[in-house]
Structure formats: C-alpha cells, structure tokens
C-alpha cells in the first residue's frame, strides 16, 4: 500500500511540474506518451496493491518458449 501511495505522489509531481512545460512547448506527442505511461503505471500499481492481478511473466514466457528450448536441448541427448 505504501508503495502505491509513493507512486501516486510521483505521478502527481510529474503531472504538476512536467506537463505544463510540454503544453507550453506544444510537445503534444510527448504529452500523450507520458500520460499513457503514467496511466499504465498508476493502473497496474492500484491493481497490484488491491491484489487484483496475479501476473507472472516468467510463467507466461516459460509456457510459450520452453517447449522449443527443451526440443533443442533434447537434440544432443538422443
């Protein structure tokens, strides 16, 4: 919970200090991307704090790619 409060403070600080400059300089593409990253960051942080996501990239990658790795490894064993 403490981590999500920390992240939200950082997000507010970025929006307070960085966004007005971007608008002033008409850097709308940067503004859009920065907002997207902050949105993803905040959303995932909230979901993680509320224990609503159970995401494990290693499990996902292993399911996708370990059969090919095992096939290559088994080449020298046969």
């Amino acid at each position: 919970m403490l981590s999500s409060i920390f992240v939200i403070i950082i997000v507010i600080m970025i929006m307070k200090f960085s966004f007005p400059t971007l608008v002033k300089n008409k850097q709308y593409k940067e503004l859009l991307l920065a907002s997207f990253f902050l949105f993803i960051g905040t959303l995932m942080c909230m979901l993680y704090s509320l224990k609503m996501i159970n995401f494990d990239a290693t499990e996902w990658l292993n399911t996708m790619f370990s059969p090919i790795s095992q096939m290559i490894t088994s080449l020298y064993k046969t």
């Binding site: 400059t21 940067e30 902050l38 960051g41 942080c45 995401f55 990658l61 292993n62 090919i68």
Partner: protein
C-alpha cells in the same frame, strides 16, 4: 547539438555491459547443465556472443552511424519497420524491468533482508533516471570513471581467489561431451543482450577510419575474459555441486576469501563492481528503449518520457515474477528461445531481406543498362 561519446568510452560501456548481470547468473546456470565443464561452456557462450556480434557488425557496415531501430525501418519500410521497432522497444523495457527486479532480489537476499523490495527498486531507478536526464555523454563519462575501479577490484579479487582453488574440481575435463557443452553454452549466450548497444551507435564519435565495430568487439572480448575467469574460479573453489545449487556462486567465492585471518569480508568490493556494471547496463537498456520510442514516434527530445517510463518500470518490477526460483526456471528454459528471436532471428532476417533487396536493385539497374 547531438550528444557524442568517444570510441574509447563506447568500449568501456561495452565491457561493463558484458559483465553486467551475467557475472552472477552464468556460472550457476551452466553448472546445472555441464557441472565441472562450466568454464568450457562459458567460453562457448562467449564465442556464440561473438557470432551474434559479427551479424550485427554486418548490418552496421551496410548502415553505418544508424541505430538498430533506424536500420529496421530502413530495411523493412515505414509501417512494418515501425511494428518491429515497437516489438524491440517492449523487449528493451522488459529487460530493464528484469534487471531492476534481479538487482532488488539480490540486495534483499544477500544484504538488506528486512528492507521492502519496492524501496530498493525505486532507489535504484531514481539514480538511473537522474543519469538518463543528464544524457548519454554523462553516463559514458561516469563509466570511464568507474572502469579503473572495476578492473582493479576484479583483478585484486582474482589474485586472492587463486589461493583457495583446487584443480581437481575441474576434472575430468570434457566429461559431458562437446555437443552437450556447446548446447549449454548456446543456452547461456542470450544473457548478454549486445543488441542494445547498437542503439548507441549514432552517438559514437567518428575518429578517422575508426568505427564503433572495433569498440564492440574489443569491449566484448575484455568483458568475456572476466566472465570466463570467474566461471572457472567458481568451479575451482566451490566444485560443480555447490556452484549448481547456489543462487549467486560468484558472491559466495568472494565471501570465502580470507588472508591471514585479518583480510576478510571483501565481498563488498564485488558488490560495488557488480552494482556499477548493472547500473551501466540498466542505463544503456533504458536509454535504448527511450531512443527507440523517439525514433519510432519522431520525437526530438525524449527527456519528458524518462520519468513516466520509470514509473512503469518501477511498478512492473514489483510483480514481473514472483520469486528468484521462477526467474531461474525461466533463465534455464524459456529465456533462451525468447531472447534468441530478438538477438539472432530478427537481425538474421533483416540481413537476408536486405541482401535480397540489394540483389533485386542490382538486377534492375543491370537490366536498365542492357536496355
């Protein structure tokens, strides 16, 4: 004016990038597969890395002074190029998350067990973000400053390790057969993601005929020597069983150093060296992701994106994987195929497509000449 780094600085960045996380991961993973032949496996892993580098250099020779993302767009065209570029940008972001998580796990397990991991991730990322805001020139200069420290500390550690070594631990040499050792080496080769260094190529200052290619090769060679020597020492000191069953065997062998019962606990030196290398590695990969985004989206200044992307990395570092055991399972199984797509398959495809395109262009111009 565009930031510039000297070829010498680029060599140093390559050395630190090569040492990076591999120093702690490779020996234990190799020992699981080929036991006492770990040191031969690490030589083969480094040889495979050189093979990948030669492939990248082929691309660089065709498209000098361009970053990898620019090369992709030049070969595949605007739209397919942009799609493939985004695949690489996500890969770079994911790599940064993995490195931050790995570093956090290491600190939590070995040094600060009571500190919450998110605090470690945020503190480390804060330093990386500050370094990136100062730019690639500053990162290169700091690497230049760190480099003598890294070399001196690693050399001191290596000399001190000789005393505890037992040559019988590497016998019988080559027991598993060359095929098994080669496959184990191949499986460990994607742990040095040198493709990220190609994103720094436009920043490397041209010095007469000097090209960044030489820096890449020399830097990788120096870094690889350290990796091979430390893999050899882990087996010589711990033996194959302990090396395979320990999370961070290189850290453990340094912890064992004791000279005359008064010169002890020098693992702090090792941690310092490793932190510096990981700091440089994460800065380069993070920078690669940012440069990739700015090239793909035609953004002139990517500085406003550093902190927002840092928030994403910090948040994802908390749950990208559950524990070190799942990371080790990934690194011994799925990572090899996954990383090889980015490090070998796509660059190889790019080279083939480029070769076909230039062959077709030559044929067309030949036909026009005939007419």
């Amino acid at each position: 004016m565009m930031e510039q780094i000297s070829p010498r600085q680029f060599t140093i960045l390559t050395v630190l990038f090569t040492i990076g996380t591999s120093l702690l991961v490779i020996p234990s993973q190799l020992a699981t597969d080929v036991e006492q032949d770990t040191w031969i496996g690490s030589i083969i892993a480094c040889l495979f890395d050189f093979a990948y580098l030669l492939l990248y250099i082929k691309l660089l020779n065709k498209y000098p002074d361009q970053s990898f993302i620019q090369i992709i767009e030049a070969i595949l065209g605007k739209w397919i190029g942009k799609a493939v570029s985004w695949v690489y940008i996500i890969f770079f972001i994911m790599l940064t998350i993995f490195i931050v998580k790995f570093l956090g796990d290491f600190i939590k397990t070995m040094i600060l067990p009571a500190t919450p991991p998110w605090f470690i991730y945020l503190s480390f990322l804060l330093v990386v973000v500050i370094a990136l805001r100062y730019g690639v020139e500053t990162i290169a200069r700091s690497a230049e400053l760190f480099f003598p420290i890294v070399i001196v500390f690693l050399s001191i550690i290596m000399v001190m390790l000789i005393k505890d070594s037992d040559i019988n631990n590497i016998k019988p040499v080559g027991e598993h057969g060359i095929m098994a050792i080669t496959v184990a080496g191949l499986k460990m080769s994607p742990f040095q993601e040198h493709i990220c260094l190609l994103m720094l190529i436009p920043f490397v200052k041209r010095n007469g005929k000097y090209r960044a290619n030489r820096s890449l090769l020399v830097g990788t060679m120096i870094g690889s020597i350290f990796l091979i020597v430390f893999s050899l020492f882990t087996i010589l000191i711990l033996g194959n069983y302990n090396t395979a069953n320990m999370l961070y065997p290189v850290f453990i062998i340094v912890q064992k150093i004791s000279i005359g019962d008064f010169f002890q606990r020098i693992e702090v030196l090792m941690i310092a060296v490793w932190f510096l290398a990981v700091f440089i590695k994460s800065c380069i990969i993070y920078h690669s992701a940012l440069t990739g985004i700015s090239h793909t989206m035609n953004i002139k200044d990517c500085k406003p994106l550093i902190l927002p992307l840092g928030v994403v990395i910090a948040v994802f570092s908390n749950f990208i994987y559950q524990n070190t055991a799942s990371f080790l399972t990934l690194s011994s199984e799925g990572w090899f195929t996954f990383a090889l797509i980015y490090l070998l398959l796509i660059p190889l495809l790019l080279l083939v497509i480029d070769w076909i395109k230039s062959a077709m262009t030559n044929k067309d111009s030949f036909n026009l000449d005939d007419a």
